[in-house]
């Protein structure tokens, strides 16, 4: 079903004269996961840089900002969701990173193995993100 959805997107792409990468008609799991690895990497970098730069520029200390968030009295469901949203890209990038390192060792490069390891990474990502968010 995901493949059909993406093909639909591809058709619109050609009409809208967008970049050719987006118009590749047959997206595959390894391709999508590779783009997500880069996406999560850039996003995590941005987060770390934002944190580092904030430490240099913003007034007050870390605790005062935590107190500010506490004073908003956000519901536990929202806090749990926010934690999940924070930890999900980190877990995805970590597990897929291990997959990349396995490839660098020359292991798991056959096509069926690519799909199997890809699904394993996705499952591990969801499980570990849920686990960490619950802590």
């Amino acid at each position: 079903m995901a493949a059909l959805l993406l093909r639909h997107v591809g058709r619109h792409c050609l009409r809208a004269h967008l970049g050719p990468q987006l118009c590749v008609r047959n997206w595959s799991l390894p391709m999508a996961m590779s783009i997500c690895h880069r996406g999560t990497g850039v996003a995590l970098s941005a987060g770390v840089s934002l944190f580092g730069l904030s430490a240099l520029v913003l007034p007050g200390n870390f605790e005062s900002y935590l107190e500010l968030v506490k004073s908003l009295s956000l519901g536990p469901a929202l806090i749990h969701t926010a934690k999940f949203a924070l930890v999900f890209p980190l877990m995805y990038h970590t597990w897929n990173g291990i997959r990349h390192l396995m490839w660098d060792l020359g292991k798991g490069l056959k096509i069926p193995q690519l799909y199997q390891s890809g699904v394993l990474v996705l499952v591990l990502t969801v499980l570990t993100s849920a686990g960490l968010a619950a802590m």
Binding site: G41, G52, N61, E63
Partner: protein, 158 residues
């Protein structure tokens, strides 16, 4: 220290011909080591010895690649270590390895997507500035504030 390249030739007659008969100007010390030109359809390997002075660019790239993997593995190990053993030393190690990993990662993105050489130099300079500032910020946080490990613990207790 010489690098040895193994050239594996495809076993099909077509493949062998295409790979070996491309006219190429080879430096003398390379030709001296190459075997006689094989007949079409020959299957096997050739050993080419290269001196570092001619291929220092690829040596540097190879070292960079290895460095990237080493830092990745290091960071992978630091994450559970920081959870189990939070300390000031861990904070600074995490800051260093994290910024280096992200610096090199962003560098790969710039190499892939920024084509023109002047624009790429500017992008790389920008990334260097960002990484330097990020590292400075994280060290400042580690020194003047609670530190990375404690901060994550405090955030998670929310």
């Amino acid at each position: 220290m010489a690098c040895i390249w193994r050239l594996s030739v495809l076993c099909s007659a077509q493949g062998g011909r295409v790979l070996l008969r491309t006219p190429v100007v080879r430096p003398a010390h390379v030709s001296a080591f190459l075997q006689d030109r094989p007949t079409p359809g020959w299957c096997g390997t050739q050993h080419i010895h290269l001196s570092p002075s001619r291929h220092s660019g690829s040596k540097a790239a190879s070292l960079h690649w290895t460095g990237e993997r080493v830092v990745s593995v290091l960071l992978l190990g630091l994450l559970p270590a920081a959870y189990l053993n939070p300390s000031s030393a861990m904070d600074y190690s995490l800051a260093a390895v994290l910024t280096l990993h992200s610096h090199w990662g962003l560098g790969q993105v710039a190499t892939d997507y920024v084509q023109a050489s002047a624009l790429q130099k500017a992008a790389k300079a920008g990334i260097l500035a960002l990484s330097a500032l990020t590292f400075a910020g994280l060290c400042y946080f580690n020194y003047h504030d609670v530190g990375i490990c404690k901060a994550v613990a405090m955030l998670w207790k929310l």
